[in-house]
Symmetry: C2
Subunit: 169 residues, 2 copies
């Protein structure tokens, strides 16, 4: 097992769930793995099962210390909110067997943390994710770079909290 | 282990999740257990964790062959749909470690199956659940009787399918 803190970022969706695993010492963060869980076939139960099983594999493979997940932006209609809520829950339920803490960040806070602009486009987020992370792959699906951005947002936020902790100690 | 089919009915909610376990031979159905999972304390993650853990205990304790769950009635706003979707998913994810099949029924179909009237009140549903099930307790919380009604609706529906299967064989 490598040193440092391991953070899993997740961008859940009922059909495509982006994930990104980063590891770092609080200053430098490195890309470990990223990708997209595809849950596009079968009925809704089969799709939830696919998300839950793939998320459980991420916890087993990478043993993340902390998970960061996008908090929900409730502009969608009730039917899509129901599906999104279920997909998020399938990921969270996979974490409950492990000691991983869960942290939520609003979409705007994530974009602001990695690009300096709360209304940044996905392509800008992807560009900054590649610049900020050591060993980032040249090709990244947008769902995966969004998930890495969530992980980086949490990395910065926990770093700031820790600096405040040190300053006030 | 008793003979017959064991059905778990679940009426999920983000704060109160009713459950009811029935067992039968396809004709007569008996009350095995029922109750309410309360997830009213802590943040949303803690509540999901409580639902998921309590649902997992039901699968371990009763080894239901089939699970019946209320399909969602999307009249709620997006924010409550998100929470309800998550609660339903926490129950479903608990089932994935077992060989339990999942069946969904609309609220109207459930009421129709147990009372003969799709717009029946919860108290009518409760009354009929007590009449239809052997060994039903005299006191039942409404969330628990709703869950038992879901299990009974599935019991009747699977019985009808099986009769059609026999007739056309």
């Amino acid at each position: 097992m490598a040193d440092g803190i391991c953070i899993l970022g997740v961008d859940p969706g009922s059909r495509f769930t982006g994930y990104g695993v980063i590891r770092g010492d609080g200053e430098q963060w490195q890309h470990v793995a990223s990708g997209v869980i595809r849950s596009t076939s079968g009925d809704f139960h089969a799709r939830l099962r696919a998300i839950h099983a793939a998320a459980a594999d991420l916890f087993i493979d990478f043993e993340p210390d902390e998970m960061a997940i996008e908090s929900v932006f409730v502009s969608a209609n009730a039917s899509s909110a129901l599906k999104l809520g279920a997909a998020r829950s399938a990921v969270m339920c996979a974490s409950f067997a492990f000691a991983t803490s869960i942290h939520e960040y609003a979409p705007r806070a994530i974009k602001l943390a990695v690009t300096g602009r709360g209304s940044a486009e996905k392509s800008e987020v992807q560009h900054m994710v590649k610049l900020l992370l050591k060993a980032a792959p040249a090709r990244l699906p947008l769902d995966a770079s969004d998930a890495l951005a969530i992980a980086l947002c949490h990395a910065h936020s926990r770093g700031a909290r820790s600096a405040i902790g040190r300053a006030s100690a």
